[in-house]
Amino acid sequence: MTGELTAALVEMRRDEVLAAVAARIREGEDALGILDDCRQGMTTVGDRFQKGDYYLAELVLSAEIFKEALAILQPYLARSQPSEPLAKVVLATLKGDIHNLGKDIVAILLQAHGFEVHDLGVDVPPTQVLAKVKEIRPRFVGFSALITTAFASMKAAENMLQEAGLRNDIKLMIGGGVTTSLTRDYVGADFQTLDAMEGVKYCLSLTGGK
């Protein structure tokens, strides 16, 4: 059963995944164990993506199925012994940019790999990022951009984190179609990518996750 659920997720057989999750819950199985199987599937999907066997389309579809499975498990997970997330991540598309596609993809992939994601949405003022970082003390902060006008907001947010003495506690990631290493240097970010899964791997590499 365990391997079947994982394999079904890897092969994006949505109906089979959801049916298996529902059946195992009905049989009284611990929700955390079922969740682990789903996460194992997502790890394999990530590996296949890294090898070039899977594409963004398959990452997105498997993450969507994972999200649906998680929705079934959620009420039961609340009753289980809570598992610690690998780390907290704050994500935002900053002021000047209202695009959400890239950020949403990264958010669901991070969740699927065991991170606690706090998605602040789009057109977010840097002050809101600072407030959230003060509140939850994340390990990672990620900014997404599709247009260059968001670069100045990224820089402003980084400055605020510096001034608040919080910058050294976090890793700052940026991504999105218009970002380059030049943007990373301008913003003062630790990491830049155009590839959502590369961002997830970066977080995993610093948290000992798989």
Partner: protein
């Protein structure tokens, strides 16, 4: 050579006196360089035209006009942007760039509805009114204004000795579906229920070809713009590309080429894995326009002597780099991608809305002078 001769020579894969220079100057970038608000250019096509021409004149001009007098709402009215649109001065602050909203507006049942009604009727009788923020009675006026702008625009370009780079303009059918359905739902459809998607793609392709060829003929232009940023290997495996993208692309480009019309193919995101397919297109039929995420040097290796390449000074470089960095990159493009002809120097996608004036000037001056002054 005149600017027109130079541009045409590059499209024909010949080696002109120098690499032609055709930056995509969006109204937003032009507004920034001139010092008017995004709200002004996004709501008034006359201002969009004026700022383009002012930048063209102030920076010494270039070889063909890419950009011009059109607003995002007109683009929506003309069935070019099939998405909800946020406009500065109306939905966004005055200094924001206009933005397109990724949302699942088209539903699964709409594939067949589109096929039954025909894509054009479906757009104007149904879909447009799900995304538009203007009343139906304004549609004829919006379209009429676009047509009325063409004459004065063409006259201004004639005075400067240049032509519009493109006139007719459409999203690729696949890209259109991707933004109408939005990316994730379309992907779900492609993998789990592909037949309606294929029916729609066939209809949209058959509809697009005669419609856009007629526009080219009506305006007397021999190049048109086809846009896609969702069919690439960045998003989809080659199995999806080969089934849902490539056959329609070939059909479209062949049809235009048989009428003597060159397709300027604006391809955002990374197409590295797809580049070999483009060698199957008729020689000289297409200008491949890259946004800096595709490896333009790899594109040159693969497409050398077969298709013209246009690009790819990145938005990031124009926004954050130095004039020296811009100059160095332009020189590299001219030397490597321009080698042997078949290259047009341009922006990667479009000049960004916060383009540094000194960087834009560096690109224009390098493009105009470098080859003519080097030993």
């Amino acid at each position: 050579m005149t600017p027109i001769e130079r541009t045409m020579a590059a499209m024909r894969l010949e080696r002109p006196d120098r690499v032609p220079l055709v930056p995509h100057l969006s109204p937003e970038a032009a507004a920034h360089l001139v010092g008017v608000t995004m709200a002004q250019v996004s709501n008034d096509a006359q201002i969009a035209q004026a700022v383009f021409l002012k930048v063209f004149d102030d920076y010494g001009g270039w070889d063909s006009a890419y950009g011009g007098p059109i607003t995002p709402v007109q683009m929506q009215a003309a069935n070019i942007y099939p998405m909800k649109t946020k406009i500065p001065g109306r939905h966004l602050p005055d200094d924001y760039m206009f933005q397109l909203v990724e949302e699942e507006v088209m539903k699964p049942e709409d594939y067949d509805k589109m096929c039954e009604m025909g894509p054009e009727r479906f757009y104007y009788e149904d879909y447009l009114w799900r995304i538009a923020d203007f009343p139906r009675e304004q549609l004829p006026r919006l379209l009429e204004e676009m047509l009325l702008n063409w004459g004065p625009w063409k006259a201004e370009l004639d005075k400067r000795g240049v032509q519009p780079f493109v006139m007719a303009n459409s999203f690729h059918p696949f890209f259109k579906l991707s933004v109408m359905r939005s990316m994730v739902p379309l992907t779900r459809d492609l993998y789990y229920k592909p037949e309606p998607v294929e029916r729609a793609l066939k209809q949209m392709t058959s509809d697009l070809i005669p419609r856009q060829i007629a526009v080219c003929k009506a305006f007397g232009v021999n190049s048109w713009l086809l846009v896609d940023e969702r069919g690439s290997g960045f998003y989809y495996p080659l199995s999806v590309f080969e089934r849902f993208w490539w056959p329609y692309t070939q059909q479209i480009i062949d049809a235009f080429w048989s009428e003597g019309i060159t397709t300027v193919f604006h391809l955002d995101t990374c197409w590295n894995k797809n580049l070999p397919y483009f060698r199957k297109l008729p020689k000289g039929s297409t200008v491949i326009e890259l946004d800096s995420t595709t490896d333009i040097f790899l594109a040159k290796e693969i497409l050398r002597g077969h298709l013209c390449i246009h690009g790819d000074v990145s938005a990031s470089l124009l926004s954050l780099g130095t004039p020296e960095e811009v100059e160095a990159y332009c020189r590299k493009l001219i030397d490597v991608v321009g080698e042997g002809g078949g290259f047009i120097l341009g922006t990667g996608c479009a000049a960004p809305p916060d383009c540094r004036p000194e960087n834009f000037r560096s690109m224009i001056e390098t493009g105009r002078k470098y080859e003519l002054t080097r030993i």
